[in-house]
Subunit: 257 residues, 2 copies
């Protein structure tokens, strides 16, 4: 069937607009090649990106480009983005065929600029399901330091991880990119041991804080969901930890669903 | 200070691209005017929208337009959307001043096409915090029926509601728009009584299903978070239920944080 490697390891970069998916795709790919000696395939599934800091082996823009959709269908940027990501689904057979032929050990998949188009429409779950037929899949869920400013953000981060896992039926790792911009006090918020975070939340009043503590109690019982890795795509900080955690995902978890 | 009504009721429409925020803003506004006799002010905070089915009393495009940002800064649609929503924050003083002068009982706020730009950057929380100084705020979190296809989607919906509440520090109501497109079997998934959903999930195997059941147990102890309203912005179905639930939010909950 495929001339490519039989059991690929997929790393799917998912995150809101501006979180740094594309930069991390380039820098983590380079790190895997240079520090670990792997061959890495690059897949761009963002039909709206203008310039890429890596050379994609498979590129969604061969089939769909947001700028073309804006012009041809006379749509605004909002509408064109939606239509473009939905169009990707129609081209899934060609794209998946190209991807299955890649000869690399690791395949890093860069997803649409807007996370919600991948997460809350059909395109994301459909592609992930195809990737699972070709190998093992780990989702890397990327946020920037804005999501670490307040106690409740630390809870929102973990909940978003669960949402991604539920929607994509795949294990996911939360990372905070641009970690050089992290403020003080973020250690307790991002620690895999959720105790300190829960204690701080107990000091807050209100229904939401109560609920947040109870949700964290549930999450803390489920290992990986509570881990947050700090990464800088620019300095390379945290890439080793991300790599180690990916190994854990591939080795121990298998299929979550 | 303000020549407008002193205690406004804000309804903030938030939802992923394509969920129907703009259509619902128009149809729910009209319903409030025609069926309840209220005066309704319309605020457009989406700098990327091309056409509106309502006449905005306050319009973010007076200050920022995504198409202009694309041209002037030579950005692609992804980058221009991010920059535009961040620019809104800089124009918050003018926009909030315009909004505070509105004489209406209800103010419906239509938010950027991409939910994540409002939810995961600083613009959304900052505007909501300003609205709270002018009156009472309820967030309406809108999804389309894609998010009701599977059992786990019903869990993801409730988790997204919590994420919105945590980020925006405001009570929110989840609605499924375009409910005429709902598939069979969605009743159990959307019921405020989460028992049926939990029972079904217990029949599924896997770590995620286990965790989902435990999360739902927590959520079901916190009233409103479990409610999902089915609405059709086109036929008007569910608008009365949305109105009733908004009243509940304004009357009983006050500030969640």
């Amino acid at each position: 069937m495929s001339s490519g490697a039989l059991n690929k390891q997929f790393i799917v970069m998912v995150g809101p607009a501006g979180s740094g998916k594309t930069t991390l795709t380039a820098s983590f790919g380079k790190w895997l090649e240079e520090n670990q000696g792997y061959s890495v395939g690059y897949v761009n599934l963002d039909p709206g990106v203008e310039e890429l800091p890596y050379r994609p082996d498979v590129d969604a823009r061969r089939y769909v480009r947001v700028r073309d959709v804006m012009e041809k269908l006379r749509l605004g940027p909002n509408g064109a983005l939606i239509v473009s990501v939905d169009m990707l689904l129609k081209h899934a057979p060609e794209l998946v065929s190209e991807i299955s032929s890649l000869p690399h050990d690791f395949v890093i998949v860069d997803t649409p600029g807007q996370m919600e188009l991948f997460l809350f429409r059909e395109t994301g779950p459909a592609f992930i399901s195809k990737f699972k037929e070709l190998g093992q899949v780990a989702v890397v869920l990327i946020f920037d330091p804005t999501l670490t400013n307040r106690l409740v953000d630390a809870v929102a981060l973990r909940l978003m991880n669960l949402v991604a896992q539920l929607r994509l039926a795949s294990e996911s790792i939360v990372i905070i990119n641009k970690c050089d911009l992290l403020g003080e006090g973020s250690e307790d918020l991002l620690s895999p041991d959720l105790t300190a975070l829960m204690e701080k939340l107990k000091g807050e009043t209100g229904v939401l804080a109560d609920m947040a503590v109870k949700l964290l109690e549930v999450i803390s019982g489920f290992g990986l969901a509570s881990r947050v890795v700090k990464v800088s795509a620019i300095t390379g900080e945290g890439l080793q930890e991300l790599y180690d955690l990916l190994h854990e995902v591939y080795c121990t978890c298998g299929d979550l669903t």
